[in-house]
């Protein structure tokens, strides 16, 4: 019997008993839909976590720190310098590397000032490092004395002449215009107050953008690292002239930290491990993501198992339908055997019928799951969550394949039973 004839005959047999077929398929629909929707909620949570984490910064970026240890006995000192940065660049899968210099400077806009954490990086790497802007642009190669303002700068400027308790009085809001005002920067954090040192000359800078909110780096004002180094050098000179001890006892070309960008999310872990092997301390959002993934994996499995129960019930339904069908069709099976159907023809016929029940149930169940998933998400958005349920294509396809497989498995025992029917007894059944 050819496959075409087999499918044709199986469909006709199912069609002949429409109501029963429909009810059995309905069981599979419910089973498949419950399993797919349950898993989709697990996946949705994962996607939601990921969206949240991605907002915090790029998942591709690894933060590298020199180890905090005064272990001077070690033969080779592990530090972030030009040589080690070069080594980072040579790791397979690394797309961009920048040293990072963090400082605390004061921005000046006319009468007002804003004390801000500064992140000095190579300007051309800013975009790659996922330091996104909400307005303007990121730093680019060749930028000098340019900054991307901290996301909180707009509300952070205050009048330094006022005493502390009046500075951030809610009623007094200071409007700044990042792109038209003239800004200056200084390492003198007392600028504008009575304690300021007028010999320290602020430097003109230009604002090219503003950081995006809600990220892990959004409170930083980002500057080209060369400019930061220049200001730091000036500060050191000033401090020396005053006979103060400089608080930066670092050598030029040695940095506290660096950022490394991987070309692919799958490389992040490996690169991180290689950096660790070199003796550096690393941190990336992937670490965090992995934790949340572990949690949602557990959740997915529990939810999937709950859904699986209804599919098991559906499988029993299929088996029941097929056994009933064999009792009814005893004679038909006998006749087919007598006029030349082989044992494998009979078995294949019953397996095909069971597979179709599973397939149709799976197909419809997955289609319904997509609908239910949409509804869940609409409700979820109202509740303030971005994604509650997600059905990736692989889950849809897997759902259909799984339902079909369940059909075949449930139909196996009845099919074997059908082949064992004696053709003779079958014909005699009136």
């Amino acid at each position: 019997m050819s496959s075409f004839d087999l499918i044709n005959m199986a469909l006709r047999n199912l069609w002949k008993r429409k109501l029963r077929t429909f009810l059995t398929v309905l069981g599979v629909i419910i089973g498949t839909a419950s399993i797919v929707v349950m898993i989709s909620v697990g996946i949705g949570m994962n996607v939601g976590y990921r969206q949240q984490i991605e907002e915090m910064g790029s998942l591709y970026v690894i933060n590298v720190n020199a180890p905090y240890s005064s272990d001077s006995n070690s033969k080779e000192k592990v530090q972030i310098d030009t040589a080690s940065l070069e080594k980072f660049r040579k790791i397979e899968g690394v797309e961009a590397v920048t040293p990072v210099l963090q400082e605390y400077f004061t921005l000046i806009d006319g009468r007002y000032v804003y004390d801000t954490s500064i992140m000095g990086i190579l300007p051309e790497t800013m975009e790659a490092m996922g330091l996104d802007v909400s307005t303007g642009r990121t730093l680019q190669e060749g930028d000098s004395m340019a900054v991307v303002l901290s996301a909180y700068a707009k509300t952070g400027f205050y009048n330094p002449k006022l005493s502390w308790q009046y500075r951030w009085n809610g009623s007094q809001s200071i409007e700044i215009d990042p792109y038209n005002d003239k800004f200056q920067i200084t390492y003198d954090n007392n600028y504008g107050t009575k304690q300021m040192d007028k010999s320290i000359k602020p430097k003109k800078i230009q604002v090219v953008g503003e950081m995006k909110e809600n990220g892990q780096n959004s409170y930083y004002t980002v500057m080209p690292i060369a400019d930061v180094e220049k200001i730091v050098a000036e500060r050191e000179k000033y401090q020396k002239s005053k006979g103060q001890t400089t608080n930066t006892n670092k050598k030029k070309g040695v940095y506290n930290s660096a950022m490394v960008k991987a070309d692919d999310i799958d490389s992040v872990e490996r690169i991180q491990q290689e950096l660790k092997d070199m003796g550096f301390e690393t941190y990336s959002l992937v670490d965090y993501l992995k934790q949340t993934q572990e949690t949602s994996k557990m959740l997915q499995m529990v939810l999937g198992a709950i859904g699986a129960i209804s599919l098991i019930v559906a499988a029993i339904g299929i088996a029941n339908t097929m056994v009933m069908s064999i009792y009814e069709r005893t004679r038909e099976i006998g006749v087919m055997k007598v006029i030349g159907a082989t044992v494998s023809d009979i078995r294949r016929l019953f397996l095909t019928e069971a597979a179709f029940i599973g397939f149709m149930g799976g197909l419809t169940g997955v289609a319904i799951s997509y609908g239910v998933s949409k509804i869940i998400n609409v409700v979820g958005v109202n509740m303030g969550r971005q994604t509650l349920s997600a059905i990736p294509i692989w889950l849809g396809i897997l759902g259909i394949i799984f339902a079909t497989f369940v059909g075949v498995a449930a139909g196996f025992f009845p099919a074997v039973r059908a082949t064992k029917l004696s053709a003779l007894a079958a014909i005699k059944t009136e």
Partner: protein
């Protein structure tokens, strides 16, 4: 001398009924010549149906040999038997045994489907066969829309569609009235005669046995006697005609 297409050697079939053993077929040795019509005649319980089932491979003998076209049927497994039946055997049943959800044409096509004959060819052959039994206009009817005689015609068409060398008929007219009985017998004789097919009919009806060249009387699983019908209806149709007149 024509060759023997079927050879039965000391065939025995014993059923167990509790502690009792019943020999439904007891030591039967019989040959069937190619192209002949044989009638297995006997009362209910004489073992005639069992013998038919043994020859067609539907049941395994307890003892003895069944050799058809040189092949040992009793040694075949299920798959071989299925292929063997596809190849050489056609069946006509007392209760027609058509599949209810298939049309007349599809029922006739069924053996060809199992034999994996292409769609176009099998449709043509089935239609031809339906024409031969005079039911071409009922091709798309379901069995439930056909009379008993028409259903048996479909069943005969199904048995002959594959052009098998051997056709078994188990009480083919048991459910039919006298007039239809003769029509069916004429039809089977005509079809089997055309292609020199070997026809084996099981019946308890003496009148049907008149169609056969040889009548094997069975009783208690043994061959009681064998009768040769020199004036078999197949050759001189007069007797049949006379009978038909009678019925009319």
């Amino acid at each position: 001398m024509s060759e023997d297409i079927i050879k039965l050697r000391n065939l025995k079939k014993i059923y167990r009924m509790g502690d009792e053993k019943i020999a439904a077929v007891n030591n039967v040795t019989l040959n069937f010549e190619r192209g002949t019509v044989t009638c297995l005649l006997g009362k209910s319980g004489s073992g005639k149906s069992t013998l038919l089932n043994l020859i067609s491979g539907l049941e395994k003998p307890t003892k003895g040999e069944i050799i058809i076209k040189g092949l040992h049927v009793e040694r075949m497994d299920e798959t071989q038997l299925a292929k063997f039946r596809q190849q050489y055997i056609g069946f006509v049943f007392q209760s027609y045994n058509l599949l209810g959800n298939l049309t007349a044409l599809e029922n006739v096509t069924l053996p060809l489907i199992f034999k994996r004959v292409g769609i176009k060819e099998r449709k043509e052959r089935a239609m031809e066969m339906l024409k031969a039994v005079g039911l071409e206009k009922r091709a798309s009817h379901k069995p439930s829309q056909l009379s008993g005689g028409q259903q048996q015609r479909v069943s005969i068409a199904r048995a002959f569609v594959n052009n098998p060398e051997i056709v078994f008929a188990d009480e083919p007219t048991g459910n039919l009235d006298t007039k239809t009985t003769y029509q069916m017998m004429d039809l089977m004789m005509g079809l089997s005669g055309k292609n020199k097919q070997t026809l084996i009919i099981v019946t308890h009806d003496m009148e049907i046995s008149d169609y056969a060249q040889r009548i094997v009387h069975l009783s208690d699983g043994r061959i009681e006697r064998i009768e040769y019908n020199s004036e078999s209806i197949k050759h001189s149709n007069e007797l049949g005609k006379a009978r038909r007149e009678e019925v009319k």
